[in-house]
Subunit: 191 residues, 2 copies
Amino acid sequence: MAQISIIGTGSMGQAISTALAKGGHTVELLGHAEAGRPVTGEIVVLAVPYPALAEIAATRGQQLAGRIVVDITNPVNFETFDSLTVPADSSATAELAAALPDSRVVKAFNTTFAATLASGTVGDLPTTVLIAGDDAGAKSALAEAVGASGLRAIDAGALARARELEAMGFLQITLAAAEKISWTAGFAVIS
Amino acid sequence: MAQISIIGTGSMGQAISTALAKGGHTVELLGHAEAGRPVTGEIVVLAVPYPALAEIAATRGQQLAGRIVVDITNPVNFETFDSLTVPADSSATAELAAALPDSRVVKAFNTTFAATLASGTVGDLPTTVLIAGDDAGAKSALAEAVGASGLRAIDAGALARARELEAMGFLQITLAAAEKISWTAGFAVIS
């Protein structure tokens, strides 16, 4: 069983906490404002909005060294709802990895709505967590933790694929915002 | 019932032809090499690889004026399998729309593998065709043709969303190439 810290107590932080606790992992949930409280987990999920990543990297950089750091963000421009706020050839995860060179940064949970993480299902199918990153050990440790919790995990490739995962997350959000799909449903992955 | 021309007799052209014929539409399937044969459909599906789009736009531009032109391509760099070949802030569909200013260009069928179009299902779910474009009438005409054929169609927003659809199509191809999913399965959309 893994030691997991989740920073961020919003809907995603709570849903990931609920989901991972089902796997028997030790899960601690920290408020983003609790900047003075150190994380203890070998896996640290940053369940915060994209704009908070830079501050977390700046204040917790040393503390996160050597740990598996999970970026779940979709850096959507919420004013225009027509683009992402990261450069077109980059991703939030690539930026975070550059800011945390001593951490094992992976992308995950950004294509799964909170409700589908909490319920474990999308429609009648198991919720699938797509994981991208350059550290194979970090990806498999997270996949193991996710799998033990009753969710499915799929290795989505290198850190560079975070760009496509963010595009997919963005598209899914626009479809829900336009009421083409429900916030309790979305993209499922069928093997 | 719609008059539909499909240029390209590869697996995607055949699958789209099979799928749309189920809707009782008049479907003509043209080889990409039959450059001298004019299309007759009000909806023209370019079921060709991305590199062929520029040539079709150059040779058939006048003929395609006023018609609904459907771009299905995923402009994957098949040498590196690590990126798309279009600029990061653009899409194959945006390029095609610029080359065919008098046509009603939409993106569709690029997130559905051929097998799922032919069978009409992804796993136990209906195959969903995501359609993006700036011409609402063109999108609804295609959605109607797709829906009459037993597939689901969802309006995925403006032409700008073709970028995200191509990212999703690329990701799906990489997952299948890495044997994480099957070429007969892939992403499903649950409302």
